[in-house]
Every structure is written in C-alpha cells, then in structure tokens.
C-alpha cells in the first residue's frame, strides 16, 4: 500500500515539475512544486532529499560531505542508489537547468534522468553538465556509510561482509555504529568481526589505557585479518610499554603460525583440485589402456569432444546456463562414447595385440578429430559460461577460501570414480570386461562375445572422457588443443599408478596434483611440470609397472 501511494505522489511531483517548467517559472529541483501535497510525510522526505542533493552544486567538499551524511540518514529508498551514482560519477550538475540529475553518457552528450523518480528529463550537451566531483575523503565516507547501512541487513552473511569492510576503520561515526551493532548483534560470527574491529580501534586510539590495549591484543591474537597484523606491527614500533610490545610480538607469531597452516591447506586444496582434473582426464584412459591394454592417443580428443558438446548444448539453450550442464553431461557421454565405439570398430579392432601400431593409428585419429573441430568450430577458443552456482568461493577465513568450481570438480571426479568402480564390480558388463581383460580365450570359451565387450568397454572409457570434457570446459578454454594438453599427463597418471588398477590411478592423480602444487610456488609452474615429468620418468625406471603393479598370471603379457 505505501508503495502505491509513493508512486502516485511521485507521478504528481513529476507532473508538477512539468507544469512548473511550462509556466516558465525558474526551474529548481522541483522542491517547491506541487505544493498541494507537501504536507504528507513521503513528500516532505522527498523534498528534504532534493534539498540535500542541491548541496552538490557547491564546490565546497565540506558541504558535499554534509549532503552525503544527510542522504544516508534520510532513510529514503533512493538514498543508497544516489550515493552509488555519486561514486560512479553518474550524478551530474546540469548547468543549464541548474539542477542535480542522474546522467548517462550518450552520443550527443548526456541523457538526463530525475534523481528520485528516474524519469527521463531530457538531455544536455557534453559541456552543459558535469559530474559532481568528490575526493578520496568523500569516497571513503560514502563507503563507510554504505557499510554502516549494510550492518543492519537482515542477512548475517551481508552483515559479516559489511563488518569486515569496516575492520581497521577509525572513523568515530563508524565506531559508534559498530558499538551500536555489537550490542544487538545475535550472530556470533558477525559479532566476532565487530569485536575485532573495535579492538583494533582501541589499539589505534592514542588515549586508550595500557591494560585496555593489552586486553585488545589478547583478544585479536591469532586473528587472520590483514588489518590485525598491520596494527600489531604498528604497536611493536610505536608503543613505549615493553609489555605491550611483547604481547604484540607474541600475537604476531601466533598469526604467522596460523597463516602458514592455512597456506598449507590452500596448497593441498589446489593440489586436490588439480589431482581431480588429472583423475577425470586419466580415468577413461585407465579403462581403455589399463583394462583393455589399448593405447588410445585420441583420448584427449574425446575429452575435447565432451567440452565442445558442452558448448553446443549451451548454444542450443542460451537461457539455460544454470541447468544446461545437466543436459551436457549425458550428451557428452553419448557423443564421446559413440565416437569411441566407431574408433574401436573401425580401427583398433584390427590391431589388437599390436600396441605400437594401435598407438600410431589412434594418433592419426586424434589428428583427424582435432582438424575436424577446427574446421567446424574455427580454430579459436570457445567460451563456456559457468553457471552462477559454480562461481564464487566458500570463505573460511580472511586468507583461506575454497572456490566452488574447484570444490565441485573434486566431488564430481570422486563420484565418477566410484560410479565406475560400481559398474566394473557389480554389473554384468563389468564382469565380462574383467574376464576378457584377464584371458580373452577363456572368456570366449565361456560364451562371452569378446568383440561386443571390447566395443562397449571402449565406449565406456570414451564416454567418461566426454564427461571429463564437460568438467574441464568449466576450468579452461575450449579449443582444438584442449585434448593435447592432457594426453601426456593422463598417460603419466595411469602409468604411475600402475596399469589395470583404478585405485592406483586415483592415488597417482592426487599425489601428482599435490606434488605439482607444492613445487609450483618454489620453482614456477613450468619448472614444476618438468620436475614432475622427470620424476615420473625416473620412477618408471625404478618400478616399470607403476605404484600398484598387477600381480599374478594376468600381469604377464
């Protein structure tokens, strides 16, 4: 109901402005127009807002600061948007009409809108209006005010974000607001951040007592906010009291220790996510190479096909970014599995027992697939839109956060792995696959159609490559060379883990991923990769059959 009222009043107000202009009265900001409704609270609120806005015509920054304060306190629903416009240089002083308006740059100059109703109020030449100029002090003021407003947000996550923005701030108005909020805040996380902010304020306050400061240091020791370590360092340099300096040093040490621990966790997380990518890329290969003994150099291109399927699905459903991945997953599986079965029936079938020839022939296939994609989709990279639920990060603390896309990749890779284990261990197809891979002759004698099993197994491995492609499309560019980038890594993972052993592949993928990320900060990304490659080359020399070699008669060729 109040909204409808407001709308009506606004319309009246605009009509009044229009009337005022047609009757050639001096056009102000409309605050004197429409006198017949001036007594309602909404309108008086609007009028006072217009009056505050009018202060921006002044060149004096103090007056502008006053206006900002007034707008923030007005409680008017346009207040926040107007302050943002001020930050964005979208609030103009229209010199011809001598009024404050919203403006957007257009071809002729400025397209002007009323600051409150947002109605179109004509245009101005480029020189006839200029953005209201603010300085850094005012910008900071606006930001503080916005954060203070956000402190009252019903969503605790928003409140916590707002409080974190205010940590280290010494503006008395901000501190008052924080204290007020601290008293009524129910959420302990938000409260913790506010306490930190207030404690830092105590340390920065030249009039605070020594024991107050010591208590404050105790309270913030181990806190990972960057502002905390800054203020502690300040105190170590500036404080006259030995007790305070010692306390600050101890607190800093505690922070360093925790930082180190979280950095290790960060490296581990990155290593795990890289490991999952490797696992996804290698797991299909673990089936075709590990279980069937077929060297499929086109494996990378099957991954690439999966990625391109994701792209095509997104083109078909341009509005379905949030759910199109769910369509892309089965589609990619089918596309890659289909191509894989064609490769098996068309080429590999003739080359069983000749691994080197298989390697060459499938390499030829990979060249053809790459070039086909180049011809169909152009050699340029394509972008796949990441759905909203995959962007962003889970902020654990100021220095440690888990990005959602990596988190999902880890979960996804593991689910694919276990699903595959289930298929191989619990289904009829899985039983047949294992039988054929152990002894083709005997399996055939038992009535298993080995040709069909080969085709299906190869299709399964290829389909999983396609699924990997869907996941990789979220992380890297989708281009014709996508597959090549992963083929050598995938082989390394399978060989390192031990051929024919899915658990070995899992272990190898995660250990290589983590090793890579541990070496990376010391030696750089490229050198880390080289070192891992060299390590694997040396490792294969020591244990030619990988970490977990197959034992028994099946292992002999």
């Amino acid at each position: 109901m109040p909204r409808v009222l407001l709308l009506i009043f606004m319309l009246l107000g605009v009509a009044g402005t229009a009337v005022a202009q047609t009757t050639a009265e001096p056009a102000g900001d409309g605050e004197q127009s429409a006198p017949d409704v001036a007594n309602t609270p909404e309108v008086s609120k609007e009028n006072s807002l217009r009056a505050s806005l009018a202060k921006f015509k002044s060149r004096d920054f103090d007056i502008k600061a006053e206006a900002i304060e007034e707008i923030a306190r007005s409680g008017h629903e346009r207040g926040e948007a107007l302050l943002q416009a001020l930050l964005d240089r979208a609030l103009l002083h229209d010199l011809a009409g001598d009024r404050i308006v919203l403006g957007e740059q257009s071809e002729q100059g400025w397209a002007l809108r009323d600051p409150i109703s947002e109605e179109d109020v004509g245009s101005a030449e480029a020189r006839a209006a200029r953005p209201v100029i603010i300085n850094n002090r005012l910008r900071q003021q606006i930001r503080d005010l916005k954060s203070i407003t956000a402190l009252a947000n019903p969503n605790p996550i928003k409140r916590r974000e707002a409080a974190r923005r205010l940590v280290g701030n010494t503006n008395p108005a901000v501190l008052d607001a924080l204290r007020a909020r601290q008293a009524e805040e129910g959420n302990s996380l938000v409260k913790g951040v506010i306490d930190t902010a207030l404690n830092i304020a105590v340390l920065r306050d030249p009039d605070s007592q020594l024991n107050e400061r010591l208590n404050a240091i105790d309270a913030i020791a181990g806190n990972l906010e960057p502002a905390v370590s800054n203020v502690l360092r300040e105190r170590i340099q500036q404080s006259d009291a030995i007790a305070e300096r010692n306390a600050a040093e101890r607190a800093l040490k505690k922070i360093d220790l925790r930082t180190e621990r979280y950095e290790t966790a960060d490296t581990l997380f990155f290593g795990l996510s890289l490991g999952s990518v490797l696992l996804l890329a290698a797991i299909g290969l673990a089936i075709t190479f590990g279980v069937m003994g077929v060297i499929n150099m086109a494996h990378g291109e099957l991954i690439m096909l999966g990625a391109y399927t994701t792209f095509v699905v997104q083109q078909i459903f341009p509005d379905g970014h949030e759910w199109s991945l769910l369509v892309a997953l089965p589609a990619a599986f089918l596309v890659s599995a289909f191509v894989g079965i064609i490769i098996e029936r068309g080429v590999i079938r003739f080359l069983y027992g000749r691994p080197l020839e298989t390697l060459l022939a499938t390499f030829g296939v990979s060249l053809i697939l790459q070039q086909a994609v180049r011809v169909i989709f152009s050699p340029l990279n394509r972008t796949v839109v990441t759905p909203d639920w995959m962007s962003g990060a889970l902020q654990i603390n100021p220095i440690f956060s888990l990005t959602y896309n990596r988190l999902y990749i880890i979960v996804f890779a593991l689910s694919v792995f276990f699903a595959l284990q289930l298929v191989l261990k619990k289904t009829r197809l899985g039983l047949q696959v294992r039988a054929v891979s152990q002894n083709r002759g005997t399996a055939r004698a038992m009535g298993i159609r080995s040709g069909r099993v080969n085709a299906l197994t190869f299709g399964l491995g290829s389909g999983i490559a396609g699924i990997a492609g869907v996941a990789l499309a979220q992380l890297t560019n989708v281009g014709p060379n996508l597959g090549q980038a992963y083929i050598i890594d995938s082989f390394m993972v399978v060989v390192f883990g031990g051929v024919g052993n899915l658990w070995g592949t899992l272990t190898a993928a995660f250990s290589l991923g983590i090793a890579n990320k541990i070496i990376e900060p010391m030696a750089g990304a490229v050198l880390a990769k080289i070192m891992v490659l060299v390590f694997i080359i040396l490792f294969i020399q020591r244990k030619p059959r990988g970490l977990f070699p197959q034992r028994g008669r099946a292992a002999e060729e």
């Binding site: 080197l356 296939v365 070039q371 050598i488 060989v495 050198l527 080359i537």
Partner: protein
Amino acid sequence: MRHSDLTTALTDRTAKTFLGILFGAVIIVALLNLLVPADSGLHVSSYTVSLLGKYLCYALLALALDLVWGYCGILSLGHGAFFALGGYAMGMYLMRQIGDRGVYGHPVLPDFMVFLNWEELPWYWHGFDSFGFALLMVALVPGVLAFVFGWLAFRSRVTGVYLSIITQALTYALMLAFFRNELGFGGNNGLTDFKDILGFSLREDSTRVALLIASAVALAGAFVLSRWITGTRLGRTVMAVRDGESRARFLGYRTEHYKLWIFTVSAVLAGIAGALYVPQVGIINPGEFMPLNSIELVVWVAVGGRATLYGAVIGAILVNYGKTVFTGVMPEAWLFALGGLFVAVTVFLPQGLVGLAKSLLKRKRQPDTADKEADHEPA
C-alpha cells in the same frame, strides 16, 4: 648374411642404387641451380634447393629412427628431441657467428640476451664460436642424453609402449624447458637471424648448394654406416633382441647393452640431421621439440617401410613432399591427410610402401612361393 664389412655395405646392389640416385639427383639440382640462368625454364630456384636439403635432413632423421625402431623394435616417440638438440648446438654456433651485426650490435651477446638484460654469456654458450667445438656438441649432446636416458630405461627393462610414452614425455619436458627464457636459448622465438656459416653467407646460392651436398653426404654416410652396422655381428644381435628379447637374454646376451648402443648411435645421427637442418631453414625454436613432430617422424618411416633403411628415406621424402604440396594448396586438409595416413598405413600397409612393392614383385615373379623369402622384417 650378404654384407659383413664396410666394402660390401658400400658396393652391393642396394647401396649402389641408393647412392647413385641420391647423388645423381643432388648433382643435377646443384648444377641446374648454379649454372642455368634464372630466367631459363630449367633453372632450379634456391628455394627448391633449400627445400630439397630440408627433405634430406628429414630423411637422415627417419633413417636414425629406422635404426632403432626397424632393427631394434624400440619405438621412440622422442627422436625429435635429439634432432632439435643437434639443431640448437648448430644454432648456437650460428648465433655466435653473427657477432656485432645483431640488431643491438653487442659484440658477444646474441640479441635476445641483450633484450633480456643479460650481462654476460652463460657458461654453456662458451666455445660455440668455434665450428669444431659446435660439431662436437652436435654429436655429443644428443648422444649423452640418449646414453643416460637409455641406460636408465633399458637397465630397468622399460619396454614397448611404456618406453614410447616416456620418450614422448622426455621431448615434452624439453619443449617446456626450452620455452623458458631463463634457460638461455631464446625462449619462444628460439635462435634465428643467422648471417653466415664458416664465413660464407647463408643467403648465397653457392652456400645453399654446399649445404645440400653436405646433407646428401651425411645421409649417404649414415646409410652406409647403418647398413654396415646391421650387417655386423652386433647388428645381428640387435635384431635378435627385436624379435625375442627374453630369448636373446637367455642365450647370454646383455640385451640392454645392445639396445643402449644402437639407441645412442641413432640419437647422434638425429643430432647431425638437426645440425644440417638449421642453417638451411634459418631458425630453430622449441616447436621442434613438440611431441607431434616426433610422431610425424614415425609415420614417415611407417609409410616407407621399416627395417630397410632406404624405405625410411623414401617415406620421409614422400610424406614431406606431400606436406609441402598440401599445405600450399589446401592447408586445412593436411592434418586430415596425415591422420588418414597414420590409420591407413598401420591397418593396411604394416610393411610400408617398400613392403608393398616387394610383395607385388614377388607375386609377379613366382606366384606360389611369395612368402618364402621373408627378409629381415619385424615380428
């Protein structure tokens, strides 16, 4: 066997035919380039001379691979690395020859080092101003790398597909390393802008012809050497390793020594091919280390036919000629053609063109005993 010493390796019919065709063609091209005026229809452009020289370098590289793959059964997917290392060694000599004629005019440092603000020559660049030292390195660097790598691999009995994949990883790792500016080999751009070799300008026709002849001589020398090696007792053992490694080992042969030996010789030959290649194309960059190059090389040998030596040469020249034609006429189709070639050769022509020709000839001569005369074909 038919040939057991160097003279027979030089004078039997295959060798005579091969060397005759090779030198005949090279001399005709050289004469047509140098003596026939440029406006005559018979003139061979210096572009063609360099192109032919390039093919001969590829042929030498293919020959080197045939020695390990055809005769010893080691499918190396990293021979491009040895080729590139030989090329870099020669490139370093050519860089030092530029002297103060570079863009920045520094008397000692190559342009890219000046550009990277390097103060002095890294230690491993010293000595490359001498041609003799560079030649030594052309053979030594690939040779030592192959020796160390092979020693580690063969001793722990890494064979078959595993060996192929780690050789591929080797060249991939080298590629990543050479792409780095910090390594001191020009990073992404590699070594280029060469001016002259042994005082002769690389732009002169006569220098190009001389390089072509040098390539032909190197190819002929490698051909004779390889034929001689495969004819000796040592070469016979290598082939025994290919056909049944365990059996050869049980008979008392240290198979890993034989493999290591042939692998190292092959790497040195590949390095020489690279060294002859670089002055003729005028650039060497990390792209030469790409795994794709090494695999393409395998297809040259497969197309020509393994374990014949001349088959590898024929394959290298044919496939590269095809590549030149294709990439000129319709560049998009080349990779389709190459990919198709991989599949077709492995599925339909396991013995390559030479094998096809042989079986056709045999069928013509004696239709019923076609299989009797199985030469040294791989298992």
